[in-house]
């Protein structure tokens, strides 16, 4: 009932380029494809303009003017942090493209501030304003937007090239199909419904769909990013914790704890609550802080707490691959995946190319979304043009299976909420994901593999459950690629902290590619260019 391709589609559309996901990467992709002359449709699970982690937040941007010294500093600063897995050619490309596109935002009317010298300051974007502008720009460029329309599975043709997607409107229940010559996955990362700010639309859906079409992941072991937030709140904005003092309940300072030494906070949280107070921010700075990040103060103002003078409990919320660095493997400068007709951009695509094994929030991710979005849109439009007449004649079929099918051979009804809680129980706890061990990863993988079997043998009984069922499936799949890769990386590099192997191992300076659904696999891939050997002990 849920897999029929020829009937039941209330909306049956054709496009040169289909973009799945309406955050920064998706909108840049759509704009760039449409500007290249392609007919573009963008579909989003939520609403293009408010969806994704950028819209809800303030975003730093890796915006560096083309001054050789500044660029050199920008590149060098993250190489050791990222465990020497990044690629300087890609950094150069991203720095150039980000600079050009952010300047384009200014031309479109984004209200950038000016600094003390009266010069425009373009390293920070207010999320709601930025994404409202992007929506307006892609509409002007002629992109057709389907809001509230999650994609459920990709379509492939007889040659296994990706040829569009099908999905459902989550408010009307009507099903849609878009037959397209090329498709861009810009669905963001996966934060496992942790309620980190703006992250609950990010459940790894694009990874799952791409993998079903045969795409590979890269760097999934770098998936244990956690953001600091007040314990009661969703606002995972960490910049101002640079000026925080972290204490135990009795008020004594926790030795070594800082926003840069989050592992100390995580260790403490395993035993007892942790409190913070932003007391190192000078009186004179405080008004600037309110103007820089109004939403940082929102939960405090509403809870009646003055964060500069009153301490408050904090927690660490999982941001997974949203602020981690793994994602769909990119095979060349066009941002193509390893599957024909399929491109990836933003958090959905691996950011190892510019960040190595460590991102964290903000600037690099914003720059990557802008650049990879721009390139994938351009390349997808070119690819569509290259198909010529062939393009409309293709026979297509959906490639989704788990969490999507019903049938008499499926014994059980899918217990979606239980599956989601079970996968969260393996990826949220600091002792399992932040501080990884061989034994812990093995145990978790056992449970995750069992969950996959549960999903495999269950049926979805109503269309209403379909979207959540696919999200649950995507989260289980993502967690299995994460931990299968993590167990393979027997060292500590980037954000991957392996308790059994606390040192960086120079022999493991390669990428880990992963994939597979019923059978998950992981393999090594050498770095694409010659690199200086990593310095043992240099990684943070």
């Amino acid at each position: 009932m849920l897999k029929t391709l020829t009937t039941d589609f209330e909306l049956d559309l054709e496009a040169d380029v289909l973009v799945i996901g309406g955050g920064p990467a998706g909108t840049w992709a759509a704009w760039s494809a449409a500007s290249s002359g392609a007919r573009v449709i963008l579909v989003d699970k939520g609403y293009c303009g408010t969806t994704g982690c950028a819209a809800a937040s303030g975003n730093g941007v890796w915006y560096v003017p083309p001054d050789p010294e500044a660029r050199e500093t920008a590149k060098a600063s993250r190489e050791s942090l990222g465990g020497f897995l990044s690629d300087r050619n890609w950094m150069d490309r991203v720095l150039d493209r980000t600079y050009a596109n952010v300047n384009q935002l200014a031309e479109w009317g984004y209200p950038f501030p000016t600094d003390d010298e009266g010069k425009p300051y373009r390293r920070s974007l207010q999320g709601p304003e930025y994404m409202r502008l992007m929506r307006r720009q892609i509409q002007r460029a002629g992109v057709k937007i389907l809001d509230n329309s999650p994609a459920l599975e990709l379509l492939v043709d007889d040659d296994d090239a990706v040829a569009g997607a099908t999905g459902v409107n989550r408010q009307t229940g009507s099903k849609w199909i878009v037959r397209s010559q090329s498709t861009i996955i810009a669905t963001g990362g996966c934060a496992f419904l942790s309620k980190a700010l703006g992250c609950n639309v990010l459940t790894g859906d694009g990874y799952l769909m791409a993998a079903e079409a045969g795409a590979e992941m890269s760097g999934m072991e770098f998936s244990n990013a956690y953001g600091i937030s007040p314990a009661f709140s969703s606002v995972t904005k960490t910049l101002f914790y640079n000026w925080a003092t972290f204490t135990y309940e009795d008020g004594t300072v926790i030795p070594g704890a800082s926003s840069h030494r989050r592992s100390v906070i995580a260790q403490t949280l395993l035993q007892q609550p942790v409190y913070a107070i932003i007391d190192k921010a000078a009186e004179s700075m405080r008004p600037s802080m309110r103007l820089a990040q109004p939403n940082f103060f929102l939960p405090f103002d509403r809870a009646g707490i003055d964060p500069f003078t009153q301490r408050f409990p904090v927690t660490l919320r999982l941001e997974g691959t949203v602020h981690g660095t793994g994602g769909i493997r990119i095979v060349d400068e066009s941002c193509a995946s390893s599957v024909r007709g399929l491109y990836a951009a933003g958090d959905a695509a691996t950011r190892e190319l510019i960040c190595g094994g460590f991102t964290g929030g903000g600037s690099h991710n914003a720059a990557w979304a802008i650049s990879s979005g721009y390139w994938s849109g351009k390349s997808a439009a070119e690819y569509s043009r290259s198909l010529g007449e062939y393009k409309t004649k293709r026979h297509v079929k959906g490639v989704g299976e788990v969490g999507l099918q019903s049938g008499s051979d499926r014994s059980q009804t899918l217990a979606t909420d239980e599956i989601i809680q079970a996968v969260q129980a393996e990826v949220f706890p600091y002792e399992k994901n932040y501080f990884r061990t061989e034994q812990g990863l093995t145990e978790s993988l056992g449970k995750l593999n069992y969950l996959w079997q549960e999903l495999r043998s269950s049926q979805v009984t109503s269309d209403k459950e379909l979207i959540r069922a696919r999200e649950a499936t995507a989260m289980v799949a993502t967690a299995r690629w994460m931990y299968s890769s993590a167990i393979e990386r027997k060292e500590t590099r980037g954000m991957h902290k392996h308790q059994d192997y606390p040192e960086l191992d120079a022999n493991l300076q390669h990428h880990l590619i992963s994939g597979g659904l019923d059978r998950v696999w992981v393999k090594n891939q050498p770095l694409s260019t010659e690199k200086p050997l990593s310095k043992i002990g240099a990684a943070v």
């Binding site: 609403y47 819209a55 209200p111 950038f112 501030p113 992250c199 969703s234 109004p294």
Partner: protein, 109 residues
């Protein structure tokens, strides 16, 4: 989580229904939208920003529900406070123009 759709303020435009990233609201004919899936609320405050009449209130607690009193919220100026802070709304200017991030980053060690 979202705790309030003000009956008196709501103009039934249903913008919140359309723009909520996690599909929390349901539209109701000739009535304000209902909070139909409260536990799906991710506490991102986007609905408040897009509500043209400050009829919505998102409590800061993201994992538990909170009880709110509309009259009190209005009195202390919390209805529409985020929208005001970022300068969205009729005759307001976006505060993106006044972003002081450069001042903050100068203080970073």
């Amino acid at each position: 989580m979202i705790e309030l759709v003000s009956e008196s303020r709501c103009i039934k435009c249903n913008i919140c229904v359309n723009i909520c990233p996690t599909n929390v609201f349901d539209r109701i004919a000739d009535a304000p939208p209902t909070i139909a899936r409260q536990s799906d609320c991710q506490t991102c405050y986007m609905c408040e920003l897009y509500c043209p009449v400050d009829a919505l209130y998102v409590a800061p607690e993201s994992d538990v529900t909170a009880s709110v009193n509309e009259a009190e919220l209005a009195q202390v100026g919390l209805l529409g406070s985020y929208r005001e802070k970022i300068g969205w709304g009729h005759k307001r200017t976006s505060t993106a123009k006044a972003d002081q991030t450069f001042q903050i980053l100068k203080q970073m060690k």
